[in-house]
Amino acid sequence: MASVRGLQKWVGIGFHAFRQHSALNSSRVLQQRAFRLSGARCQQPFDSSVEKPQFPGASAEFVDHLEFIQPNVISGIPIYRVMDRQGQIINPSEDPKLPKETVLNFYQKMTLLNTMDRILYESQRQGRISFYMTNYGEEGTHIGSAAALEPNDLVFGQYREAGVLMYRGFPLDLFMAQCYANADDLGKGRQMPVHYGCRDLNFVTISSPLATQLPQAAGAAYALKRENSNRAVVCYFGEGAASEGDAHAGFNFAATLECPLIFFCRNNGYAISTPTDEQYRGDGIAARGPGYGMLSIRVDGNDVFAVYNVTKEARRRAVAENQPFLIEAMTYRIGHHSTSDDSSAYRSVDEVNYWDKQDHPISRLRHYMTACGWWGEEEERAWRKQSRKLVMEAFERAEKRLKPHPDLLFTDVYNEMTPGLDQQRESFWRHIQQYKEHYPLDLYEK
């Protein structure tokens, strides 16, 4: 009964304080006491007459034999699927029956992302941008989930979710502006490439530290719940990031504080070079959800309709019931981790080829569209040409554009310019004036 003793102690302290400080009027002290007692009433009723467990920490029966709970990792949580690898709907009652325009839009956004990835990856190889991360193999998770959200739902991402922005209509020019860090970049050229963000599209700016966005997403969802605005938050992360302490924090806070939030895990088998058997020993990420009291599901991440369905339902229930949902989308990271990584150093080419050629979200959707008679070789050829043209035009515009004004190095550290920072800015310009030939000033806006 430590807690009871604690209560008595606090009441005692309250009275000490009362004697010392006349400011505390008596009604307030009484209020404090009443408050504490009502707090005590919230504990589970204690009834010693019944031979049942009375522990406040769990609701369970006694058991009279010793048995450890076994994790079930051989036969894990099943992977929800709507269409097979040939694009055939497996169970018609699960068919979302999306109209042709919607499905074509899915396909075009996925392939446009793929085209942009190829061009920007190459541009990094040529040293034209400093860094890039592709989305190969995970296009379906982005588009399927983004399509199931409302446009004003707030998105927190990791860095491999560019398709969500693509779906929401983020212009190619702004993708390019960010990667080139040119004067059009909404982020003012301050972050590494692929750290996109867009206020108008409710996509919170990406940052490099992994999993920091999980508890933040919980906080944002809590604030939206209090606004009563019928909005949800979705938070993407990889299975590697789920090992961070912040993931634990985010899951637990979202559950205990009843936040309308969808945790969307992209389990693509690798965190850079680390395979999942070095990342965890349980049944993936989805199996952790119930431990936090979270409704959880595992989905085929290469099946855009399956991703769409689970996100749609999770979104509906998260907002209606104010509780978090965990979706684990099983995929495969077809590309290298980033342009600073050669994945052939730690995995076989055959493995990569299987996912690229035989189980890819884009080809699967294309099979579906072909079977519906919505897409043929002709359309494919035309769209490939058009999408490549769109990307190349944006690419060339971005490359020609100047970098942002160097003053932007100093702004937005604080909401206001502080005197100390302003002095540093002035000293910077004095230095630049004196040594201008040693700095790339002509590349920057004046």
Binding site: G6, Q31, P215, Q216, F253, L257, N415
Partner: protein, 386 residues
């Protein structure tokens, strides 16, 4: 680590739980019934004498409050005027282990004043999210000693949110409150003064008040400020410091030091409890050495008020900086080098730092560890005869 704290708080031996005995010294002095206790058990007397601020006339009616009550008053004012404001942290719902949130949950509802799971990185991350969504987040870290699990969220996330997004997103509505500083017997993990760790991080504001009036005005300014703020509350003052505090909201500007006592021979700079130590030292210096000292409360550690400090040093020619935190890498080093750069021709003696030693904060050796008035007084003697 928090489990250890809870052990102390909830199940400590019945005669001396942490908080109870934390203010044991005060209670002992005030309560005659305790004078019969064996002398060997009496704790070391407080290392400072609290000097109340004058009663402020400009902000309306005042009420006698100690520091924890003035914090509650500031929180109350903010919740009353800002419907988005929420308060959360470990054990804040029942009033907080230092009583700072007493009554607020009853008054404003459990969706606005609530307990979180026991996880500091979660608390700060959650607060950043609340603020990023546009609401006012007031997070409590139970002791400044336990803010380090949230260091990543504070330094890499909160501080850089606005800058990295090109001002598309920010968490300017976040304030993190944490009890701070030595308490007589807090040992390694209930005594720390971690402000210098954060002072190296652009994007944050760090504030430490010296008493109830300051606490309320500065805390309300942190809430109103459009940047993430860390507000460190000297926990030894929670009950010990009592003065007349306005009940209505008022603001004391951030990044402005305050000259709390004018002088002509030497400048003292300190913050938090140490301001009261320095005031005593100034009196001692005047009485015993005839030295006139100017005492400045820095109040905001980051971004700090260079102008007020340098103006004073230009006048006095000598600077003594004192803080409880260890000397190496402490914030006094920053002040010292800046003043040296800006006031080189005015300095008549080396700038002196009287700080904690470069050790962890010890338990039974606390009276020897802290930069008390005698250590500061000795520094004054040396500086004046330099």
């Amino acid at each position: 680590m928090m489990a250890a704290v809870r052990l102390l708080l909830r199940t400590g031996s019945s005669s001396s739980s942490f908080v109870h005995s934390g203010f044991g010294a005060t209670l002992l002095r005030l309560s005659p019934s305790c004078s019969s206790r064996p002398k060997t058990q009496k704790r070391h007397a407080a290392h400072f004498t609290y000097q109340p601020d004058p009663v402020p006339a400009e902000y309306g009616p005042t009420v006698k409050m100690n520091l924890f009550q003035s914090v509650t008053s500031a929180l109350d004012n903010r919740l009353a005027t800002d419907p988005t404001a929420v308060i959360f942290g470990e054990d804040v719902a029942f009033g907080g282990v230092f009583r700072c949130t007493v009554g607020l949950r009853d008054k404003y509802g459990k969706d606005r004043v609530f307990n979180t799971p026991l996880c500091e990185q979660g608390i700060v991350g959650f607060g950043i999210g609340v603020a990023a969504a546009g609401a006012t987040a007031i997070a409590e870290i139970q002791f400044a000693d336990y803010i380090f699990p949230a260091f990543d969220q504070i330094v890499n996330e909160a501080a850089k949110y606005r800058y990295r997004s090109g001002n598309l997103f920010d968490c300017g509505n976040l304030t993190i409150r944490a009890p701070w500083g030595c308490v007589g017997h807090g040992s390694l993990y209930h005594s720390q003064s971690p402000e210098a760790f954060f002072a190296h991080c652009p994007g944050l504001k760090i504030v430490v008040p010296r008493g109830p009036i300051q606490a309320k005005g500065l805390l309300l300014s942190c809430f109103a400020d459009k940047n993430p703020c860390i507000f460190f509350e000297p926990k030894i003052l929670y009950r010990a410091a009592v003065e007349q505090v306005p009940t209505e909201p008022y603001h004391i500007p951030l990044s402005q030091a305050e000259v709390v006592q004018e002088g002509s021979d030497m400048t003292f700079v300190a913050w938090g409890t140490q301001v009261h130590v320095m005031r005593e030292v100034a009196t001692m210096a005047q009485e015993k050495l005839g030295v006139s000292c100017e005492v400045i409360d820095l109040r905001t550690i980051l971004p700090w008020d260079v102008e007020t400090i340098c103006k004073s040093v230009v006048k006095t020619g000598r600077l003594l900086i004192s803080h409880e935190a260890p000397v190496t890498g402490g914030f006094a080093a920053e002040i010292s080098s800046t003043v040296q750069e800006q006031c080189f021709l005015n300095l008549e003696a080396p700038i002196t730092r009287v700080c904690g030693y470069d050790t962890p904060f010890p338990h039974i050796f606390e009276p020897f560890y802290i930069p008390d008035k005698w250590k500061c007084f000795e520094a004054v003697k040396r500086m004046i005869s330099y």
